[in-house]
């Protein structure tokens, strides 16, 4: 399946990917409203730009072939879509037990800041290329089959 890959060699740490993710997953689909208002109501980017000194990289869910998070999920909120390969998250089912957050060795799952729910990358099902990849100004993120 196609996944988002990161090349830390050319990640410039601008965090535009986080902003794109935030916007894509907002109600308004408007960066300014998403950042100023919806963020205050708990909207979070699904990805995280990691930093270690000057080395940076944007990381998000790997949509593993055999995901640890699904093993750990007690509520059936996380499932692997056989067709697309995506690790699909149904928020209504989630009870906020943080088992997946604990199990994911990539730390790709976040807690919702307000609700007892998790937040994770959905690979932007409404887009042909995930928002973070489209927004990356230096092609440090690519969406491809490897």
């Amino acid at each position: 399946m196609k996944r988002v890959y990161v090349n830390p060699e050319v990640c410039i740490g601008c965090k535009l990917c986080e902003l794109a993710c935030l916007t894509e997953h907002s109600q308004s689909k408007d960066l300014i409203i998403a950042y100023r208002e919806e963020r205050m109501q708990g909207l979070l980017p699904r990805n995280t730009v990691e930093e270690s000194g000057w080395i940076t990289a944007s990381l998000n869910c790997r949509h593993c072939a055999e995901p640890y998070c699904i093993q750990a999920c007690i509520s059936g909120a996380l499932t692997k879509d056989a067709e697309s390969g995506r690790v699909v998250y149904e928020e209504e089912q989630c009870v906020g037990c943080w088992s997946c957050l604990m199990a994911c060795p990539f730390g790709a799952i976040k807690r919702h800041p307000i609700k007892e729910k998790i937040v994770k990358c959905d690979l932007c099902p409404e887009r042909s290329i995930p928002a973070c990849v489209s927004a990356c100004p230096n092609q440090a993120l690519t969406f491809e089959e490897k």
Partner: protein, 427 residues
Amino acid sequence: MKYLIIGNGVSSIGAIEGIRKLDQESEILVISEEEFPTYGRPLISYYLAGKIGDDRVWLRKKDFYSKNKVTLKLQQKVTALKLAEKRVVLQGGEEERYDKLLIATGGTPFCPPIEGSQGEDVYFFTTLAHAKKLDANCANLKKVVVIGGGLIGLKAAESLFDRGVEVSIVELAPRVLSAAFDDTAGNIVAKRLKELGFNIYCNTTAKEIKRTEEGRVKGVLLQSGEFLEADAVVIAIGVVPNLTLAKEAGLKVNRGILVDKKLQTSEVDVYAAGDVAEAYDFLVGENRVVPIWPNAYSQGFISGQNMAGANRDYTGGIPMNSIGFYGLSTISIGLVNPPEGQGFEISTYVDEEEEIYRKLVFKDNFLVGCVLVGDVDMAGRYAGYIRFKVPITEDKVKAHLINNQPTYLEWPEEMFQAQWNSAARIR
């Protein structure tokens, strides 16, 4: 090819999903004693607390069995295994044939020999049926004693407390959560629970459950001599593997059913997975029963794959628990109470005011365990360091771990490329 799975917990689901990745056609039969299709067993505390209803306890969608072409037989007990004939005997004498068999019967609550424990008003808390029974009677309960201060006990206590019941917890060990967590974490949780109004009695246990003349529970007499009034008792001391079938059929058992790296029992074509199995444990490097949800799934998955012809090794899970009490999240991963004098190095951080606690256990250049209370956001990253045995060679990296700033960017380059940046097919 016919697959037969005894039990319908998460191992069974893992097995079905593991089989169906490789074999979409052959018959799968699941036999379960329970009356419900698969549900999220830990969800029963959410159910009892009233946080979720009947619509949300299911672990998979309604059409899971039909989509995966699984025949599900509920409320049927397997009474014997005829290994030589590759058949199992159901209660009532009916028999089912199999080509590959998975025993995923899980565990049953352990009930110590306490006087008065037999009879009405004594509950267990490991199945949805248990939860439904408690739920139905909850309105009549004012005071409940929970025997056992482990994960199940505390979750039962919390649920009942949420329903307005006065709860006392009795724990034999010096503190709650003694098995999965360490002293400090246990104490932080205990402190939080006490503040909320739970009664906690440690270093003691129930000597006798006192009953009225009508046979109803009226209280619990502790070893310490104290008497706790109660309308009901929940026994949550732990679960023991359901070994009866395996033992009687002559499979090799120890504390659980012994399985090899392929999760096959001492009998060819017969596999075991989950809480009933004694499988390889990555951390201690030997077989043991680790009754942990993710391991149960993963053992189910691998055994399912192997039954379908994959020949995969189960590389061993890591014990891990995530449990929250009223917004106080706690997570433990790996080895959290290491034996003294074996070269383990422990780093801790405590902020009692903020209820934040972090304990990391290092051995040589590796992280082998951690306890997180309050701030658990980095749990997965720590899990990654533990699971992938990421070498920590630089002081800077260790300092980042200790300061709650673990990052994959400090994994060795080859590991990052292999694990993070590749197809992420790992287990």
